[in-house]
Amino acid sequence: MNSHTRPTPAKQIEINGVIVSAVPGQKPALVDGCDTIVSLFQKRCEQLAARTAHREKDLGIWQSYSWQDYWTHAKWLGLGLRALGLARGEVVSILSEDRKEWLYADMGIQCVGGIASGVYTTDSASQLEYLLRDSGSRFLFVENDEQLDKFLEIEDQASRVEKVIILDQDGLHDLRHEKCVFLDDLYETGRAYEAENHGVFEAEIAKTRPEDTALLIYTSGTTGMPKGAMLSQENVISACVSGAHALPTQDHDEQLCFLPLCHILERNVSVYFPIAGKATVNFAESPETVFDNLREVSPAHFTAVPRVWEKVYSRVRVLAQEATPIGRLCFNLAIKTGLKRADYLLARKPVPLGVRAHYAVWDMLVLRNLRRMLGMDKMRRGGTGAAPISPELIRWYWAIGVQLLEGYGMTENAGLASINLPNDNKIGSVGRPCPGVGTRIADDGEIQTLGLNNFQGYWRNNEKTAETFTEDGWLRTGDVGKLDDDGFLTITGRLKDIIITAGGKNITPAEIESRLKFSHYISDAVVIGDARKYLTCLIMIDQENVEKYAQDRKVPFSDFASLCASQEVVDLIKGEVEEVNHAFARVEQIKDFRLINVLLTAEDEELTATMKLKRSFVEKKHAGLIEEMY
């Protein structure tokens, strides 16, 4: 153990009108005096009552739903489950895209002592069966007919499930199935239960202890079956405390929710932090409309995965290329000035007056409009996490006046371990450890964390739980990284992904892969070379940018496979690979590569729900391509 920071004791402070533990990491973790997320939820609903909690589009028009709606529906839903026989400590699964009912279910389940577990809508029927069986769910929420069909397909294997609650009735009016009920019926059951047992809901909330398990989050598991990470009420509250310190939300902030709520990142940002910070959450209509919704909502802060930031950037780049020569010139000059200013800001140096004046002009002429066009004109900060992001991309966002900050966390530490701050930012690092999160680097380079945010363990899997904690109770993140002298954390790779070449050299593939991913033309890459003579790589190209490249250079192609097969595209990627090779020692250089010529979707097992390639699956599925290179 070479370096570590440890939390120090303290009291309560007020941040943007919310009173939180002044020094996070100390028991008890409190937000406005509440030590559980459910009691905080109750408090907020009482406080904010008629204020808008959520907005959702109905037939193309934004509709508002109040905190009162949030409370009543969560209450009916929770009591409905109670009436159907849900006991405290039991898991309920939710299979739906993001929508307000997802949150109603999440809070409703937790308030009556249940454990909420999300299932990705891209999961197959057999994956659903595994998750239902592993979590022992007796109740399942499904969004619509499409998701319902997944359950019906595996109904016989999932006999433990007693009731399936359907959120959206469209196309299911003729459905007659003893296990299926519609959400409205469940609300009705809950309402009737409430009439007979007044105050039960509030009593259940009061019964909830910080150490009670609140959520089960299945980790995508690049090897083996997914494991359910148990997060307690205290974990969630302590994430809110760290969030309040590191990512302050202001009263009345607007947010956009669009990443899967099954993922800890979106869950924190769109469910728990808004409860703590009194923000309004707007739900994107669908993954395809995110950019339009972003413009409509113009959120105060926006957290996304690097892929999304990359997409926005590519769109702007294409637009700029197709602009008039004068427009293009202005745009380039504006970006140049923006970058100059960004370099001062990022170096935490005062911006010279000249640069400031220049920037003010270009901001007025170009950048302000650009931000408005992107829906980033009111954005105080952008967040990125869950995958590495190119430093150049972050600089570009700073240049156009959007403070994009990279953070780091994982399900097992409640999603928040370290983050860059607007005035304390080191590009390329994932920031300093969050307040309240102890961080150290083990002898083998593994990052380990300690704090109230460390999860309880894996659901019904003591063996894996034991492997995940050190003897002195620190969490093994499985990530390899460094803490620099200023206390900034940098991630270099995954511990178990380390490749040992036939020559005996240890290589962290993630380091090379992230460099490759920073190219606009490469969306993901997997480096191969375990027990081999040299390193090779499978590459997934970025469809849009490569297509654009091919078109601009008159490279004929028809479908995706022919695009990947064209010599010009292979040469392009070869150039990118060689560029990356320069940054590495000889043994760490990629000697050969192949392009994955199928357009993968989130439904494919090679991809995680956040569109990252899964090493083990890719290696298995494309074994032929790999062998070709050796």
Partner: protein, 257 residues
């Protein structure tokens, strides 16, 4: 078969500011029938119009027998031997069947050969011979379609571009017309590029197929293999995958592989 007659490379066409074709490349070989499938607004007709010179592409090349023809005036394209049988038939309603056919051979001067071709058209479409003196506007939809094809044949084209010949016709007539197209291809060796929404008949006729979606080709293969593809089955051939409930409203996601 073998020699490439038509070679389209990275065509981009616009309607005003709207990009209708976003970089399409395809090839048609001598004696082949190539079909382009796609829903409304995919850019299929635009593609044909770009080939025949009615529209000019912003980018890309169209090579016909090895020479560039993109951006050429339509009548010069016709002169090269490319015939466009437009969507919705577009026969001259006030002219007789015979006059319509004669107009098809407008650019030719070899009287005897023209007469031979007219006879060939009448052999393939006997109904047109029967109605030769009737005004084209009084023909039924199917007969007008036959006339439009016949008029195209009168040029003795090197390639025929057919824009939805099945449009608005009864299933029986569609079968009939496609059977004749098949014979024309087999017996006369007419090379065809066929744009269709009726994927089943088109794939039965064609050797190769391309699938277009929003201005881009998403899949291309031989007709047999396309007919085996799960996506084509679900989205173009109307195969219903029955879910566990027996009725299903939602569709699988397209992957085009």
């Amino acid at each position: 078969m073998g020699e490439t007659v038509l070679d389209i490379q990275n065509i981009e066409s616009f309607y005003g500011p709207i990009m209708a074709i976003r970089g399409v490349s395809l090839k048609v070989e001598q004696g082949q029938v190539v079909t382009v499938l796609g829903a409304n607004g995919a850019g299929k007709s635009t593609l044909l119009k770009t080939i025949s010179g009615i529209m000019d592409p912003e980018k890309g090349q169209i090579l016909f027998e090895g020479r560039e023809i993109q951006g050429m005036e339509p009548h010069k394209v016709v002169g090269r031997g490319i015939v466009h049988v437009p969507e919705g038939r577009e026969v001259f309603p006030l002219l007789t069947v015979e006059e319509n056919l004669t107009l098809g051979a407008y650019t030719r001067s070899d009287k005897a050969e023209i007469e031979k071709d007219r006879q060939m058209v009448f052999d393939y479409f006997p109904i047109l011979a029967e109605r030769r003196h009737q005004e084209a506007g009084t023909l039924s939809g199917g007969q007008q379609q036959m006339l439009a094809i016949g008029r195209g044949l009168m040029l003795r084209p090197k390639i025929m571009l057919l824009d939805e010949p099945s449009l608005g016709l009864s299933p029986l007539l569609v079968q009939e017309i496609f059977a004749i197209l098949k014979r024309l291809n087999k017996e006369e060796g007419v090379t065809m590029m066929l744009v269709e929404q009726n994927a089943r008949v088109a794939l039965e006729l064609a050797d190769m197929g391309y699938v277009m979606e929003v201005g881009r080709i998403v899949m291309d293969d031989t007709s047999e293999r396309l007919m085996e593809s799960e996506d084509i089955k679900a989205f173009y051939l109307g195969h219903q995958e029955d879910g566990a409930r027996g009725e299903r409203r939602w569709k699988r996601k397209k992957t085009w592989r």
